[in-house]
C-alpha cells in the first residue's frame, strides 16, 4: 500500500510511529566521511565519559551516572525493538526484572555470584523477551503495547506472591561483586567503569546490528511486513529474535542494577518504571544511535538540574516533555543532529545533502 499517498501523513501503527528516518540516521550510514565522523564522535564521547570521575564530580553525580548507564543499556534493547522493528513495549521493566531476579535468586538460593550469573541473567531475560513477544505475532501494534503493560503487571504480582523464592514483596538482597584482577567493585568508581564498559559494548553491538543486513531486515519488517514475507524474510522469527535481543540487553541492565542497588523488590519492575523506559526512548529518539543514551541522560539528570521544589520540578518536567515531543517529534537526538548538521553546513559552507 502506498503510505504517503494523498500527501497526508498517514497515521502509522503505534508501533512504528517515528515517521521518516531523519536525515543522517544510522540506518544505512554508507558514506565514508560520515562513518569517520561517527567514529570520531564515539571516541570523543567515550573519552569524556571515562574521564568524568577524575573531574571530582561528586558521588551523587556519579551514582546518577551509573543509573543512567544501566538504564541506557536497557533502552538500547528497547530502541532496537521499537526503532528498528517498530514494535513498542511499555512493559520493558519486566525484562530488567527477569535479569535482576535471575541474578538475585541465583545468589540467594544457589550461592552463584555476579560473574557466573551474568550470562544466566542475559539468557533468561532473552527467553522472557521471546515469550512476551509471542502475542505480537497475532495482535497489532497498539494491542500489543497494552499486552506488554499487562505482562509487566503480572510479573509484579508473581514476584510479590512468590514467597521465599522471590523474597515476596520485600524482595531479595545480594552481596558484592567478587573481585577480578584485584578490582574492588564496591568502590563506586570501579562500578562506574564496569557499567561504562557494558554500555560501550552495548553501543558497539547495537551499532553493528543496526548497520548490518539484520538491521535492514528488521526495518523492512517495520515498514511493510507483507512485502518482507513476499521476498522471503521470516518475519515471525525475526520479530521474536529482536524481542530476545532486546530482552538480553535488559537482562544485562538488570544484573548491573541489582548489584548496584544490592537489594531489589517487585515494585522496581512495575508499570511506572516501564513507562519511564518507553518515555526515555521516545524522548531521546529510538532510531538514532545516541537516542536512547540521550533519553536516559535527560530523564535521569533533568530532575537533578531543575532542582526546584519537587512538585514544581515534576510539573516543569512534564511541560518540558510536552514541548520536546511537539517540537522535536523524532526525539531530542534528531533535533541535536539537525542542529549539528546545520552548524557543519555553516562552518564548511556545504549544504548537508543528507536525506534530500
Amino acid at each position: 500500500m502506498t503510505m504517503e499517498f494523498l500527501n497526508l501523513k498517514v497515521p502509522m501503527a503505534l508501533g512504528g510511529a517515528h515517521g521518516k528516518a531523519p536525515a543522517g540516521s544510522t540506518e544505512g550510514a554508507g558514506n565514508r566521511g560520515r562513518r569517520i565522523e561517527q567514529i570520531a564522535l564515539a571516541v570523543a564521547l567515550i573519552a569524556i565519559v571515562a574521564a568524568l570521575p577524575s573531574l571530582n564530580i561528586g558521588y551523587r553525580f556519579l551514582s546518577i551516572a551509573i543509573t543512567t548507564g544501566y538504564t541506557a543499556i536497557a533502552l538500547y534493547g528497547l530502541g532496537l525493538q521499537f526503532g528498528q522493528a517498530g514494535i513498542m513495549s511499555v512493559g520493558h521493566a519486566a525484562m530488567l526484572g527477569v535479569g535482576a531476579y535471575t541474578a538475585a535468586m541465583l545468589s540467594n538460593h544457589l550461592g552463584v555470584g555476579f560473574w557466573a550469573a551474568l550470562p544466566a541473567s542475559i539468557v533468561f531475560a532473552a527467553i522472557a523477551g521471546g515469550l512476551v513477544g509471542l502475542p505480537s505475532l497475532r495482535v497489532s501494534g497498539q494491542h500489543y503495547i497494552i499486552i506488554t503493560f499487562c505482562c509487566c503487571a503480572l510479573l509484579v504480582i508473581c514476584l510479590t506472591n512468590g514467597g521465599k523464592l522471590t523474597g515476596a514483596a520485600t524482595g531479595l538482597d545480594v552481596g558484592s561483586i567478587p573481585r577480578v584482577f584485584g578490582i574492588n567493585f564496591d568502590k563506586l568508581f570501579n562500578y562506574y567503569y564496569l557499567v561504562l564498559a557494558a554500555l560501550v559494548i552495548t553501543l558497539g553491538l547495537v551499532y553493528a546490528i543496526v548497520n548490518s543486513s539484520y538491521g535492514r531486515t528488521l526495518r523492512s519488517i517495520r515498514e511493510n511486513e507483507q512485502l518482507a514475507r513476499a521476498i522471503g524474510i521470516n518475519v515471525d522469527l525475526h520479530k521474536i529474535g529482536v524481542f530476545m535481543a532486546s530482552g538480553a540487553f535488559a537482562g544485562l541492565a538488570g544484573i548491573l542494577q541489582v548489584y548496584y542497588l544490592r537489594h531489589i523488590s517487585p515494585t522496581l519492575y512495575g508499570a511506572f518504571p516501564s513507562l519511564y523506559l518507553a518515555l526515555m526512548v521516545m524522548l531521546g529518539g529510538g532510531r538514532l544511535i545516541y537516542g536512547p543514551l540521550i533519553g536516559a541522560i535527560i530523564v535521569n539528570f533533568l530532575p537533578e538540574v531543575m532542582d526546584l521544589n519537587p512538585v514544581d520540578s515534576r510539573i516543569a518536567y512534564g511541560v518540558a516533555l510536552l514541548v520536546v515531543i511537539l517540537l522535536l517529534p523524532g526525539g531530542v537526538s534528531s533535533g541535536l543532529l539537525a542542529i549539528y548538521r546545520w552548524i557543519c553546513g555553516r562552518l564548511f559552507g556545504r549544504v548537508s545533502k543528507a536525506g534530500s
Partner: protein, 244 residues
C-alpha cells in the same frame, strides 16, 4: 459558465517543488483531462483543488467563489469531490457503508438510498457485495466502489484520479459510459487524470498536458492528440527518459 478556475498555482511537498504556475479552467458540464508522464504532478494538482494540499501560491475559484486553501471537507460540502488515486476504500466498512459515506456531505439524506440503488445498477458487483467488507473486494471491484462512492456525493464537479486503474477492458468501457452519465444525468463536470489513452480520448472534450509540473499544452482533446509529447506518452512512439 466557468465552474472551476485555477490561476498561477504553485505546489510543493516541503522543500520539493511540484507544480509551477499552473492555470486551468473547467466549465460547467465539461469533461477535462490532465495528461502527463509519471511524476509530472497531476495528482498533486488534484490534491490542491480538492483541499488535501494547501497551495503555496495561486488562487482556486469555484463557482465564482475564492476557495483557495479551504479544507477537503469544506470543498466536498461545496460539491468538489475527488475519488483519489489508489482507491482508498474503507477496508473495515462494508460496501454499503462506503457508499453511504460518499454521501456524507449531502443535505438530502432521503435521496441517498435511491442513489445507492442507482450505483448498484451501474456496477452490479456492488449489489452482490453489498455487505462485504471493502478490504475483501478485488482490486477492480474496489475501483468501481471508489468511483461510485465519489458519485454518491452528487458533486458539482467530480475529480477522478486514474479511474480505469486495474479495471478489466469490459469495465473500462463501463466507466466510460458512467463518466458520460455523470455529465448528462448528474449535471456535473468531470476533471480527470487518466493514463488509459483510449478512455481519456473517448470521454474528454478538452485536455491539459503537464510536464515537470507545468502546463505545456492545452486545448480540445482532438488537437492535443496530435502533439508530439502526447504521442510519445500515450502511444509510446518515442521513448521518454525514464524516471521523470
Amino acid at each position: 459558465m466557468t465552474l472551476l478556475t485555477v490561476e498561477h498555482l504553485y505546489t510543493a511537498y516541503g522543500a520539493v517543488k511540484v507544480n509551477h504556475n499552473v492555470s486551468m479552467t473547467v466549465d460547467e458540464g465539461e469533461i477535462v483531462t490532465i495528461i502527463g508522464p509519471n511524476g509530472a504532478g497531476k495528482s498533486t494538482i488534484l490534491r490542491a483543488i480538492s483541499g488535501l494540499l494547501k497551495p503555496k501560491q495561486g488562487t482556486i475559484t469555484f463557482n465564482g467563489r475564492n476557495v483557495t486553501g479551504l479544507s477537503a471537507d469544506r470543498m466536498a460540502g461545496l460539491g468538489v469531490v475527488m475519488s483519489p488515486e489508489g482507491r482508498h476504500i474503507f477496508g473495515d466498512l462494508t460496501v454499503r457503508e462506503n457508499l453511504k459515506l460518499g454521501a456524507y456531505a449531502r443535505k438530502d439524506q432521503s435521496g441517498v438510498d435511491a442513489d445507492i440503488e442507482l450505483m448498484e445498477s451501474y456496477f452490479d458487483i456492488l449489489a452482490k457485495k453489498r455487505d462485504a467488507k471493502g478490504s475483501t473486494l478485488s482490486g477492480g471491484q474496489q475501483q468501481m466502489l471508489a468511483i461510485a462512492r465519489g458519485l454518491m456525493a452528487r458533486p458539482r464537479i467530480l475529480i477522478l484520479d486514474e479511474p480505469s486503474l486495474g479495471l478489466a477492458p469490459v469495465m473500462v468501457k463501463e466507466v466510460r459510459s458512467v463518466i458520460a452519465t455523470v455529465r448528462d444525468k448528474f449535471n456535473a463536470a468531470v476533471l480527470l487524470v487518466e493514463q488509459n489513452a483510449s478512455l481519456a480520448l473517448a470521454v474528454s472534450e478538452r485536455g491539459y498536458l503537464l510536464q515537470h509540473g507545468q502546463i505545456v499544452a492545452s486545448g480540445p482533446i482532438g488537437e492535443l492528440r496530435e502533439s508530439s509529447l502526447m504521442r510519445e506518452l500515450y502511444f509510446g512512439e518515442q521513448r521518454a527518459p525514464a524516471g521523470e
